[in-house]
Point group: D2
Chain length 483, copies 4
């Protein structure tokens, strides 16, 4: 299983940001206050709990929080009408009848809506958390109350983490036939401990960058023994996770942490990919003066045409009020840059890991760190200059802003459709490889979300469909279409 | 003193929102967490406190918080460089030498920067709070520590409130010659209790809508006995308090309370004045689809040209995702409108009072109120429909977002210049009337804030000034210029 | 009559741009091609022409063009529904019954709609042209055909110009009682030649900057002997002539002359008044990177908050692709600036006169001028550098773009209402002074244009009107309101 | 050669719009006036002409126009610095030494810059026109003057057209080894008449949609006998031809034809692909209120998130001021829609063919057509309603606006690099198939255009390149990247 040997250390790995789509559980989220309440300190593993129907096939912090968790789920359902409509459309057929899904994701109100949708479509589910901090305890309780076998709580230890996963897989009486994973830990565990389980597995659905990367490595090495669906790269999910979501969260993250006024601020955004495009659009719209750095000439040309000056970072760094990284690269903002920033300059990261700003270089004796607010540090130079560092260089949108439920709905619906597709695909459609969601299903995800906007699609006439050489129901674009 | 008899009841009055410029003290502000700490319950009036120099000429919650308050003030100074530069420019001349200023404003880090600027310009100050809830205790302590006679704490009673004001005015050894007021309470108290004080007063500077209104009434009634400066209506302050500030705070307020995604949301904004213009620009920029209601055909025409549909509220109310009032009017959103809203519709107010949404009409037995978060109520109809009401219809930007220090800097600088102008004006320049800040000083306030943006003004040549018939140093526009 | 002695020389004066609102007759306009047709060379003054009813009380180029002119007028009527609705509303009352209006304006299809509206409201009209080049001959013919006494043609001589005006005023059988002027020439002529006419005149309506300036001078000198209405400064007209119109015409003017791509272009706009704001908004929206120069700190601060860098011209001149003046000032772009521009830099003027760019400084032997297209000169430096000068520094929007009929409708409606107001005002309402259109009528102009946008105004309830202290029918804002 | 039997009739075919990139020759373009000059009526084929060096190996309208044509080429060079820099970079190596290129494209100043660049890189060229109307005669003359064997003039007959192509290919002394085609006619002719020529051909570069389509058909049918490069679908060219170019040309086309004011106009854009996105962005930016129709749910969702209402055409058709098609589909606007439009509604097409609006349905007796201006028809209903039809439903941006030289520079540079790549590719890199330009060369095209914007690319450090797993010189993105 050498592919997995390249994994970062386990603790580190699980503190990586995976996908934006599952980030609603940070300290700013609506429900955060509730889960912070000081429960007793007994480990859930040592508690005996049963739900109101006498079922004890779960392990959560406190089953008594179920009612509160149910309300959170109901609120989430209001912005996840795509899943609700999926429940309705599938009412007769039960496309997941017989499916036994083992899942490992963040456990939040939004995931709960997904899990309960899978159940409504006919599946049985066992679930653990993909992150030791992100579980909403009351939501886990609500799931347990309605009979979902959930094993997760906020603040698990490393050992708890694997114990929970194991409890989902290692059952004499219940053999999973589908895997829904976020980060690849569940898949890893099955590979390592219970390889025989794969004989019954019809497919893996994986949504994180990291997990997808591992699957491609397995595939390349010829070790992927079931079909896998990469839902991370579906068009709809990508646009929402990056462009649309960042357009909103950059403003939210900056405002909640620093109360900065955007108007007239000089901002440099490093990287003009989808995340950078979203950040730039928002900041420009609110009166910021935005500069771009880019390594790719095509993206640089786009930045020019969109009205941004393309510069090298050291050309502008002295005059910037805000510096934002969105590159996926490392050491984009170096100590040298930090040394040259002006007083009160705000530095933050919207890219996909915490390496973009060389934060380590700031941990030197001559600099003083002052924590002025949650997620906000002033790093103070000997001459009194302060640089405002947000989230210690980790992802601003994960740490300091929330993700709208609607964005999570896109992801969850994509996951549900991928499960349905893999579970129902005729023999031979999918081999032991990694697949993207078929474009037609990607379009279906989009179409399920249009009613939220009261948007009305136009249908092709027979004549038009023939003229265009298209099926009236799609797919409407070739695979390489750039949207 | 019949003018004052029209005042709302005192408690009600002081819970009115006055000006946006002094709103940084709500529960979301940076320092909020600190002042929430549970101090002992002894009234400050009963405590004996002295600062480190043995001075006890103040009354604050806890003098020991001074150091922390000092840091808050220092952070505020970073975004108030206009006042700092005013200190520097006036270093030699001390334009307020001899001035004895009695003030009644919100007491926040930003006000502290103002007060300390006034002192640096030569003035002596005594200060109380214009709002019983808005005092940052640690800031008051920091002021007391450096010798300012401050009488204020968070959570004053009605009686405390007037006691504090009285302690500022009623001194044998110290007679004020200038008044800086925010809301008119201080002015009212002096009129009522110590009319003789006006003999020495050179002028009143008032920044709130309410206070200015009262002054005009006094003037109209022939009872204004000193010159007064209306700083509320200076161009610079108005643009920042309304257009620019609301452009940012509407997003912030909605996001912090509801985590709503803006993209694709259908929003109706009632009123297309400066506040409405700011809200619309921001929401449109982030992908909202915005409709306007207006009573004034000129503003309506502007809305059209700016790309918004102008509608009557009842024409669109059924399909809206968000309803925002910015009219200054009352009952703009009625129970009938609320009845017709769709599930999950968000309703909030950005106008100048809490009357715009008929919240009272929602206090009926068939509707259930559910507090889902601070400042967020779900009002639930019998059929399960939920309307999301923010801040119970009070000002969203005061209740649920913060005001950037830069905006407060504009106001504070305007106040400082108004005090200097009135104090130094030659006999006869100002009569017993209400004046606007001279345009030249309004321009000066603006110019003091340009360095923050690294903006470089162009100077007229002699020849050009002559051609335009202007003084090279301004004023540059006629009074009626619309900006 | 010394006020008039300050006038520029007559020929020069009439080549001044007056108001944007009457500029549709330049060489790019729709009808231009028609009037360019080579008519015979006999002066209209020497021709004997009669219309189809035998009337010969006019002097136009060619009465036979009437039918074609009528079609132009009908097309214009489609975008001037405000005037059409004014005709309808006033059908019974004829508010201008008895009015004898002598007018001197550009004579275009749009003016014709105005003139025919005045007639429909009961007035008799005699009309001449305020510009020797701007008359649409076919429109003049169409007016003559329906009996309007019009004296104007394209390409009048200086002598023709005054002859035409004189033919309007100098009648034994017809004494005017109202004047509608654009530029002040008609008013000047009456003052100079027929001062007695003023005894019957109830008022002057003047729409140009120049003409209004003269009226204020007369008033100041105590020589204004009738009331005058300044329609140039009405809110609605101002916004359309400047902000909204320039937002569109800057793009149009640049594109028609140079086919320049806007995306990524670096542009400096000198002046951030209404014209500058319009230009900047459009250029930024299409991907331009815009810099501002300003002398007024308040406008400069607005530019900052709107997301523009405020610079001095010489700081950025080397890197600019386009330079646009909107100041109303002179020598804003000097030879020194022009020397430092880069190759292919485009220079043009959107301000109110042709003095902003020091074009004269380019008429030196070492520079070569090359006319590459109508209104486009390449000025070539000895090293081969070319600067692209548009319209020789005259107004770009007058010379190289058209003005939408809708904008002209605003002006024409304002003029019509001003005439009605002055003609019907009770004795004493207006003295021998210059007045702005009452705000209520300004609002009425706006309201007449709302149906074009299918915009629906909201009406105040009695209760709301009382709360706001407003009349339900307006005016809705104080005079100083800034919109 | 049955693939070619599906071709439209020849005349029809060549009036098809192919690619936007070669559209600068319509009647609005800068040089149009010059080529309209009435030359003598003798066919160029019958003239004996020699250039100043005695060379007569060409056939153009009038060799004497060479000097004027040269100036046009020089002006074009100013905006095509990418090609100029290509000339410089390749100075030593001459990457096209030995290349004998036969070309068939529009012959314009911009193409001339391309042809002369190919020559500068070492190639010999023979050239004909791909469109019987689009040749700029003076440019052809200038090319002939410097020795390019060009056979083209404006207003060729069908017979002339093929004669010119034949003269390029059918030479005893000169055998082409590269083909540059635009539309496929040249390729078709060689296939049909001189199939043996393909033995020496190293590759075909084709830029039009139509020509590319034919090549794919040939390839599918196994009849493509040389490698072909599809430059139409390169990222950079696509973005400029569609999104960026249409963002500008929609405004230009509407303004030049109708002088319409954009502010407040209600517009429906059919299709939200790249062209639609460009149109919508521009119109919204200038104050239009834009609605979208879409068949593809993903594009529809993008429209929602970008702030547009997604509707069916018949839901909004009654209230629209402007209707724009950008679908590539047929009969998107039907007679039924046209019947329901309001008076003065403007209808135009920005999509890729003239079928989107059912113009044929308007050719019925009860409707009157009135040509009011070049490219503008009023179609008049019996009740007087007028619909304003632009360019008779053909492409607005080809017929009524110009294409910036910069956009053409992108295309020309892409063509040049494709020729270099194919000509120099080692044996076996390209087979008898159709290829996209390698991403690295696409990036190179982009990079050559960055200096125009003074844009500065950031270079990866070795360490960063390793971290990202990228070559420091690109390509920087995977092939499926969506930009």
């Amino acid at each position: 299983m050498q592919e997995f040997s390249k994994f970062p250390t386990k603790t580190g790995r699980r503190s990586l940001s995976r996908s934006i789509s599952q980030s609603s559980t940070d300290s700013y989220s609506s429900a955060a206050s509730y889960t912070d309440s000081s429960d007793d300190e007994v480990s859930p593993r040592e508690k005996q709990q049963t739900n109101s129907k006498g079922n004890s096939n779960f392990c959560v912090k406190n089953i008594k929080q179920a009612e509160f968790g149910r309300r959170e789920i109901e609120i989430a359902e209001q912005d996840m009408s795509a899943l609700i409509s999926l429940r309705k459309r599938a009412q007769g057929e039960k496309p997941l009848a017989g499916a036994k899904i083992v899942g490992c994701t963040h456990i939040t109100a939004q995931t709960a809506v997904l899990i309960e949708t899978l159940c409504a479509l006919g599946a049985q589910c066992r679930w653990s958390a993909c992150n030791i901090y992100s579980t909403q305890n009351e939501v886990a309780a609500a799931l347990a109350e309605v009979g979902v076998a959930v094993f997760a709580w906020k603040g698990e230890s490393e050992d708890d983490f694997w114990w929970c996963i194991d409890r989902c897989v290692n059952m004499d009486t219940w053999q999973p036939n589908m895997i829904l994973d976020d980060g690849g830990d569940l898949t890893h565990w099955v590979y390592k401990k219970y390889p025989n389980v794969f004989k019954k597995i019809r497919g893996i659905v994986e949504e994180s960058v990291t997990g997808v990367h591992r699957l491609y490595q397995l595939s390349k090495a010829g070790k992927l023994c079931v079909p896998a669906m990469n839902v991370n790269d579906s068009v709809t999910k990508q646009k929402f996770d990056n462009l649309y979501c960042c357009r909103e969260s950059i403003l939210d993250g900056l405002k909640r942490t620093t109360d900065v006024m955007f108007g007239g601020k000089q901002v440099v955004v490093c990287g003009y990919g989808e995340v950078g495009k979203g950040c730039c659009a928002a900041l420009k719209a609110l009166g910021g003066i935005v500069y771009i750095t880019e390594i790719d000439p095509i993206c640089a040309l786009q930045a020019c045409m969109d009205g941004f000056r393309v510069v090298k970072l050291n050309e502008v760094i002295r005059q910037m009020d805000v510096v934002i990284t969105c590159t996926g690269n490392k050491n984009v903002v170096t100590r040298e840059h930090l040394d040259r920033m002006k007083n009160s300059c705000i530095v933050c990261n919207m890219g996909h890991s915490n390496t973009e700003i060389d934060v380590a270089s700031l941990r030197t004796p001559e600099l003083t760190w002052e924590r002025v607010r949650s997620q906000v540090d002033h790093v103070i130079w000997p001459d009194g200059k302060r640089v405002v560092l947000l989230a210690e260089g980790r992802l601003l949108n994960l740490s300091c802003s929330t993700v709208p439920t609607f964005v999570l709905s896109i992801t969850a619906t994509t996951q549900a459709l991928a499960l349905i597709e893999l579970y129902n695909a005729p023999e031979g459609r999918y081999k032991q490889d990694v697949y993207l969601l078929p474009k037609k299903m990607d379009e279906y995800v989009a179409s399920l979300h249009l009613p939220s906007f009261d948007a009305h699609l136009t249908e092709l006439t027979d004549d038009q469909a023939k003229y265009l050489g298209l099926n009236k129901n799609g797919p409407f674009k070739p695979n390489y279409y750039r949207y």
